[in-house]
Structure formats: C-alpha cells, structure tokens
Amino acid sequence: MNIGLIDYGAGNLHSVENALSEIGAPCRCIREPGELEGIDRLILPGVGAFGDCVSQLKTQRLWEPLRRWLAEDRPYLGICLGYQILFEHSEEFDGAEGLGALSGKVVRFPTSDLKVPHMGWNTLSLVNPSDPLWAGLPENPYVYFVHSYFPQPDEASVVSAHCDYGLRFAAAIRRGQTVATQFHPEKSQALGLQILANFVRE
C-alpha cells in the first residue's frame, strides 16, 4: 500500500504525515506528477485559500493528473481544502474554478449571527453509519473543524455526514472511492486517527 500525500506547500502537511505515521501508514510526499507513479491511495490535505491551492496545483502540474485520478475513481481522501476543491467553483476569491469532480459550489458561512471561522469541536450526524470510513466510530463523533467556507453538493446522495453550525452543511462526502471531509481527522485525536486508518485500510 503506497499512500501519496500531495504537497502543494500547505502548512498542515506534517500534521497529516505525523498522524499517518502514528497509525503505521507511512506516506510519500507528492510534489510533481512523476511522483504519483506506484501510488495506490492519495490524500490532499489543505488549509489556506482556495485560489492559492488551485494555482499551486497547476504550477506543480498536478491539476490534470488529479482530475484523471478522480475520473478513474481511484482512492482519494480530501481534507478541508482537499474537499472543497472537488467541486466546480468557490465563492472565495471571485469564484475560483475547482476540479469539478462533484457538482456544486463552495460558499461562505453567513456572518450575521455566527462567529466565522467555524472553529472547534463539533459533532457529526452520520448519514450512512455503515460507510467504511466511519467504522468503529460512536454515533455522533466529535471532530475538529476550522473553516469559513463549505461545499454545497448538488447531489444529496454523496453526503456521508452532516454538521450543524447555524445551518446544516455537508461535513463529509463519498462517491465511489472518493471521500472527503471538511473537518481535520489529523487534528481530531483518537477518533480522527481511526478515520484515517479506515481510509488507509479500506
């Protein structure tokens, strides 16, 4: 099992690396297309700005290989921006274009009576508790979020967990072997490590 971790310069790469190492699943950092050779499962962690992530992936010539990877339904875990970027476009930075693997857009939380970013530990409502990604989790697991934007998938069937913060949003999705979470499993202590282990061993 070769796990590739896409390194486009985001700050939290090492957190994911550390978490994978803790569960005995070492990974290889992917900075250019050639390094995808032999990789079985791909993780795109991401924090920061949508537009920067897109342009950095393009600069590193990883954009097209990623689109192909997703079109071929090869195992993919997107975290935070790695989730948002699966959609067609984001309101952040004047509607930057995403990978378009899933239809829908990324929108910002309304700030009228909410603190934004949505920051801290919140509970998930698992839409499909038998999803292998949720194996071994309690019914309403607490996971760590930090984000100002969230995706609105057009197809309700892809949503695998909801979360409530002022409104109900899609906290995780699955379509085939593409899974993605808005929260940070790598920062969600034991439950987060369980989720990463579930992805790695799926």
């Binding site: 700050g11 939290n12 090492h14 957190s15 550390n18 978490a19 190492s21 803790e22 924090v47 920061g48 700005a49 700030t111 909410l114 603190k115 934004v116 970013p117 949505h118 920051m119 801290g120 530990w121 919140n122 509970t123 071994g136 989790l137 309690p138 697991p141 607490y142 760590y144 979020f145 930090v146 984000h147 100002s148 409530d164 913060y165 790598e186 920062k187 969600s188 202590q189 034991a190 439950l191 987060g192 490590l193 369980q194």
Partner: protein, 259 residues
C-alpha cells in the same frame, strides 16, 4: 453543536515549562512535550505554547519542542511568543503548529496580520491582545506583559485585527492575570460582541466557576487557563464535567478514549 473549548496554556522558556507542572505520573513534569501529551490524554480541546524566551538563539529549541509535540499529539496547537514575521510564522507552522499568535509584532506592524492571513489563511492567525482597564472606563492595549501601555483601545484593536485577517482573538486581562479572581468578564463580553471571530478568554482563572462565567457571561468561545491545570487543582475532565452540569456544551472528555 459546536462545543466550547478548554485550552491549557504552557509557558515555555529554553525548552522547559516555566515553574513546571505537578503531574505526578510524568517522568519530567517540566518537559513541554510530556505535559502536552498529558493534556491530550485528559481530553484538552487545544493547546497553547507561549514561548517566553527572550533570546533568539533559543528560538530553535522552541521549534524542536513544537516538532516533537506535533509528532506525539494529534490536536490543534497554537504557538505564540516572539513571532514577528511571515517567515517566523512559516517556521512554526511547518514545525507542526496549526496556528500562530502575534502580539507586539502586530502592534508595531499591523500588516503582519494581513500578510500571515494571505500566506496561510485566516484560520492560522491568532491576534493576542493584553488589555488593562483605564480611568475612562475602557481598556488599553499593553505590551511586555502589561508593563508598557500603547495608545490602542483594546476593542478597536480587536476589530481592526479582524479586518486585517486575524481568525481568532486571544484576549488576556492584565488586571485579572495571576489574581485567581476570574476573567474580566466585561472586557471579554465587549470584545466578543464587537467581533465576528472566535474569542479565547484568558487571565485570572482560579475556579471552575470562572471558566463557566467566561463562557456564559463573558460570551467567550473558548477559555484558556494555566495554573489550575498545571498544579493538579482540576483536570480537564473535571472542568468539562462541571461545565456540562451547568448546561454548557463541551466535548466530553471520555470521547477521546472511545477507540
């Protein structure tokens, strides 16, 4: 439901926890990494390291501490103290910090907030504000541990920090700090209502009721404390049980140990 966060803070100098902690089961109660692991076991929601080292050559030691903590603990970590530039921020984030807090550097050069937010996202940038009550009924921002007043009003500075791109405010009352008489609730509430980003209350905790008051009357999104946790007066789990009994939403401490 989004829960309120309990955040222990460790003051670190030259790679050691200041005055140590009194965790009896640790090999070395002054080792910040061991203390961080103990807090993770107890179910802390986040952790703050404040580097109070004065000299710059000891900064490398702090980077090592952050690296090792990030290897062992899988919870959010904020590092503050001596962070002046985007490069300083990058060093700490690459070492494994999730957020960096800026204080004096942002007062001297507010653009550093915007630069950090642009480079790493607003969620990475915490604006630390040390505030002290003044004679005109408001609060003045101080530097150097409350010794040096600035001409900034704390509420205005918090709002400006948000506008510049801070994702969170770590608000310490210099009047309350060290008193064990509780947070400055009026200050906390005023700042929390003035901004749309999360506010962490800090300074003055002596009892569990103080934590509850900071979250309810102070309207804080998170509470930070040091000595009540370090000296074993209360565990994180006890704090959470107390807050839960008062109807405050917290992540149960046992949620950590379910798998």
């Amino acid at each position: 439901m989004l829960t309120k966060r309990i955040i222990p803070c460790l003051d670190v100098t030259d790679g050691r926890v200041v005055k140590g902690t009194q965790f009896v089961d640790l090999r070395d109660a002054g080792d910040p990494v061991e203390c961080a692991m103990e807090y993770e076991r107890q179910g802390a929601d986040e952790l703050v390291f404040l580097d109070i080292t004065a000299s710059s050559d000891a900064r490398r030691t702090m980077v090592d501490v952050v690296e090792e903590t990030a290897r062992q603990c899988h919870m959010p970590l904020t590092v503050g103290g001596g962070i002046r530039t985007v490069d300083d921020m990058r060093t700490m984030l690459l070492a494994g910090a999730d957020k960096v807090s800026v204080n004096t550097a942002a007062i001297n050069r507010p653009e550093v907030i915007a630069e950090g937010a642009r480079a790493f996202g607003v969620q990475c940038i915490v604006l630390a504000i040390d505030a002290k009550r003044n004679d005109s009924g408001s609060w003045t921002v101080y530097t150097h541990g409350g010794r040096n007043p600035t001409d900034l009003d704390a509420i205005e500075w918090a709002k400006r920090g948000e506008a510049l791109g801070a994702g969170e405010i770590l608000l310490t009352s210099m009047d309350a700090d060290g008193t064990k008489d509780g947070y400055d609730l009026e200050l906390t509430r005023t700042v929390s209502e003035a901004v749309n980003i999360p506010v962490i209350a800090s300074g003055g905790v002596g009892t569990l009721q103080h934590l509850a008051d900071g979250l309810t009357q102070g309207k804080a999104d998170a509470v930070l404390a040091a000595s009540i946790f370090h000296f074993g007066e209360y565990t994180i789990a006890e704090s959470k049980a107390f807050l839960h009994d008062q109807g405050i939403a917290v992540r149960p401490a046992q949620a950590v140990a379910t798998c």
